[in-house]
Symmetry: C2
Subunit: 555 residues, 2 copies
């Protein structure tokens, strides 16, 4: 499915209008169909801001005029360092609408990585939220292509920025005098629109350059019942950042569906989430497992609940059975797993609450909710062995996952990577199984797989089982050097607040649940584990730190 | 929105995979996601046939092999004269899948028109249902390009066809020996896939040549909540024919959604419909108003009901308020208006039961259900005056409707028509108003508008009001010659069975409901009105017949 064509033009063409799939039309559609629907944002200024899709569109038009006046040309890269707020949404539409490219930079990276990325992309203007002013001040002298910095605030909130080399402008001042209609260019749909770098755990970050076509088709899939099933009465709160894989396309999908969009700004605490969900009657949240663990911890502590919340869509990491259950049984919230990566739109798979699934016995359903789901229309998936030979979808064979489709990257920006882009497929680096119903499960990252005596041990599987222990808050399994077996698993555990936990408890718990040879060679009780800015475990760091741990123990 | 581009390639390309939107992937998607879902058909052989999407796919593969063996080449046109059954669905996939073009011929046309169309398209093979064998025998000597006739039956049901000049083959025999997997070509998505002639009331029929891309994007829109809102637990019964505008795309949309597809074959009677709806638990029907009137008449007569049926999607003609109400209040069925034409995919507009609509007072909602609905994502709409100048969407101004989008025709097949294809828009020939919420209402066909003393009278509007009279079964207003006003309206009315109805009743009913100068100059009570094969009134014929009626009366 979704094979790539080698024909530049059709051999036997039909006679359809050459209308293009362009990002700006997602917002124009919201304006004609749901003009009064709201975008609600927690601002960096501290308050809650609310306006309509028509307001958003008019300000995106003003931004387009302002960019044109600044001399921005089609194809120029424009950087943002910003949270999820309405101004960032305006950048998503205004910048791409004129044929320029919005480059959403991840502010959680190291300062050197950030300036490296901005220089690599040759970004010409940088839009920045108030909370990243210090960061920008720190890196300003490194930025070789940036002509000016635009602070996402009104002039009353504009800081001095005396130590910045480039010219500094104010966002509200910039757009305020501009007309609120714009004559958008009729671009080709394969034009570049959104640039996202993915922060590999090794080597330099790599850019994924998304097209208008890809983002529109991705938005249509996202709205469909195979992914988020968004409707005009949904209230969508993306906790995943607009600087990380386009907030999973939420800023594009929400206006297409005409649903209310609730943007958390910098408010990532349990309390801030609870407030916004309750006040805005959020029905659907998007985020990594850690975010929903944070919400759960807050709710448990406060004995609070969020009755409006019907579903959380959870990706970026595997869904632990413990949380799936807790959300179902304690909160009546459907935990909907999602799989994707920056290179894949990002959304590609999910397990939405389809009637057939909901009809299954509870435990069977929960098990499916810990998979990564099934591919939506637009994505083809295979698993291959080490030689690239396709493996059966039998729920047993595991191999590297390859994906293909109209919103999957065909190469990195300005970079070759023949290991990732193979025979018209994207090699994901995820080791997965696919069952006969099409449910895919990531059993490991290619580099996280533990190879013990030539056999594979899934670190994720052990972590999943650990997560079901009542006193475990988080756990991490890494492969470390072993004199005999080459690699053996080492388990690190963070206990829940105010609980007692020791090695023996965990061994006892694991003993009945996993094969003997999978039992970690040692267990360490720790107070915390390192995470990336987007909430993923940084296993590389732990691997480095504990690399020789077993060697030292045994010597 | 949805402007057509003049760029052949993007100026600043992104780096996405060149995966194409191809029709065959709709069915392949159903196979991996809903392999056991059913297609149920009333066969021409008389029985009910049921099989799965996997069966359908495997037989489409067999058909593709058979076509290849027959020497069918990409770009060849292959004709069908067939009802809605699973074999016709296999033609939709097998023929287009190999890059050939399925030409669905309307068997209800006059025999000369049918042979004219088949010759015009230079169709090479003709697939024909048992009920059209006589028709084929009649026209066989006229068919200059047809190499052979394939009867859609098994060999036990194959008739002799001795008077046919071309070779005659049997469908089941043809495909049976073939392998059930096929290596589909990676076509360009702009390739031709489906050819539908639209039978204009004047002049020769004109072909619309649809692309793979258009049909896939149309299917995605169709499945979305803006049009049919199809899900895996929907049971869809298209009463609209697969030879008429692709059964509104139902054969493409159903596998995409994974819903059960129920195909009525030649069973168009109230009884046949009732049987299929009840046995298959149909939730959603597609068809012209006449079809639902037929169902209602049957149910009323039999004192029967169809509790599974939740919605009927109704297009091809305006939705009469009387039926909207009856379906809501008597059957609890939502009457969902749809607008489209062969040149527009066909689906472009609808008024689905969105939460905001359902929250309105009943009478307001009914009023909206008599509009043609709002444009879905993918379709832009304007109304223009006689000079092509855009008119406001104020719910008052009426002008010719123009539409634009990726599944709208850019020209007729092998024909120029500068009056229809204007400035990148399709001029629809419908006179419409659009209100500020985006609801469009066809107030007339350009050629049905009555021009009385330089002012326009809407024949449709008068017909709509008539339909609310309890004793009126059907009505028709035409403009006929008048010595003073140039044209004046004449009303023809078919009373309901077993009811008394006279001119004066109707005049009284109309008096309070329309402007005085709109009142028809005369009213004729008739026993029936002429319809096209697809259930539309043939006003041209009536106009011809009654052209001088008022002249003769007044003289
Ligand atoms: N549902 C999931 N289950 C397991 N791993 C996931 C899931 N979703 C995302 N990931 C991981 O996150 C990676 C993508 O990271 P990123 O590009 O930063 O979004 C994938 O390649 C997976 O390794």
């Amino acid at each position: 499915m979704f094979e790539t064509t080698t024909h530049a033009t059709p051999q036997h063409p039909a006679a359809m209008q050459r209308s293009q799939l362009l990002i700006i039309d997602l917002l124009r559609h919201a304006c004609r169909r749901h003009p009064q629907q709201k975008i609600v944002s927690r601002r960096l200024e501290g308050d809650i801001h609310s306006y309509t899709y028509v307001d958003c569109y008019q300000r995106s038009c003003q931004l387009a005029h302002a960019l044109t006046e600044l001399g921005v040309q089609p194809g120029d890269n424009i950087a943002s360092l910003a949270w999820n707020t309405y101004r960032h949404v305006e950048l998503y539409y205004g910048v791409s609408g004129i044929g320029a490219v919005l480059h959403t930079v991840n502010p959680r990276l190291f300062a050197e990585q950030i300036s490296w990325i901005i220089n690599d992309a040759k970004d010409t203007w940088l839009f920045v939220d108030l909370s990243f002013i210090d960061l920008v001040t720190e890196i300003t002298s490194q930025l070789s292509s940036i002509k000016g910095i635009i602070v996402l605030a009104d002039s009353a909130h504009q800081p001095a920025l005396t130590k910045v080399a480039q010219q500094v402008l104010n966002y509200e001042q910039l757009i305020q005098p501009q007309p609120n209609q714009f004559d958008w260019p009729a671009l080709h749909e394969d034009s570049a629109a959104l640039l996202c770098y993915t922060s590999g755990t090794t080597g330099n970050p790599k850019g994924v350059l998304n097209s208008h076509r890809a983002m529109v088709l991705h938005a249509q899939a996202t709205v469909s019942h195979e992914l988020l099933d968004l409707r005009s009465d949904s209230v969508l709160m993306p906790m995943v950042a607009m600087y990380h894989a386009g907030a999973w396309g939420a800023p594009y999908a929400a206006p297409l569906a005409g649903c209310k969009l609730v943007l958390p700004g910098a408010g990532m605490s349990g309390e801030a989430m609870y407030e916004l969900i309750s006040e805005q009657q959020v029905t659907l949240g998007l985020g990594v497992p850690t975010i929903w663990l944070t919400l759960h911890n807050y709710l448990a502590e406060q004995q609070a609940s969020v009755p409006s919340l019907q579903r959380v869509c959870v990706g970026g990491a595997a869904s632990p059975l413990g949380l799936v259950k807790t959300f179902a049984e304690r909160y009546n919230i459907y935990w909907q797993p999602i799989w994707g990566m920056t290179e894949t739109g990002p959304l590609a798979c999910s397990a939405p609450p389809e009637p057939e699934l909901m009809a299954l016995p509870k435990e069977q359903r929960y098990a499916i909710q810990t998979t990564a789901g099934r591919a939506c229309f637009g994505v083809d998936m295979i698993i291959v062995d080490a030689d690239g030979k396709p493996l059966p979808h039998d729920g047993e064979s595991s191999g590297e996952l390859r994906v293909r489709g109209p919103w999957i990257a065909a190469s990195y920006y300005q970079r070759e990577d023949p290991e990732v882009f193979v025979d018209g497929w994207l090699a994901t680096g995820d080791i997965a199984v696919i069952d006969p119903q099409g449910y895919m499960k990531v059993v490991d990252r290619k580099k996280d797989v533990i190879k013990s005596g030539g056999e594979w041990i899934s670190s994720l599987e052990i972590e999943n089982i650990c997560s079901q222990h009542p006193a475990v808050n988080e756990s991490c399994v890494i492969g470390v050097k072993h004199p005999k077996w080459d690699e053996r698993p080492l388990l690190l555990v963070v206990p829940k607040a105010n609980t007692e936990l020791n090695k023996q408890d965990i061994y006892q718990f694991l003993q009945d649940r996993i094969a003997k040879w999978w039992l970690p060679d040692d267990i360490l009780i720790v107070t915390e584990l390192p995470h990336t800015g987007t909430g993923k475990l940084v296993k590389n760091e732990l691997r480095r730190q504990y690399q020789y741990y077993l060697m030292e123990q045994s010597s």
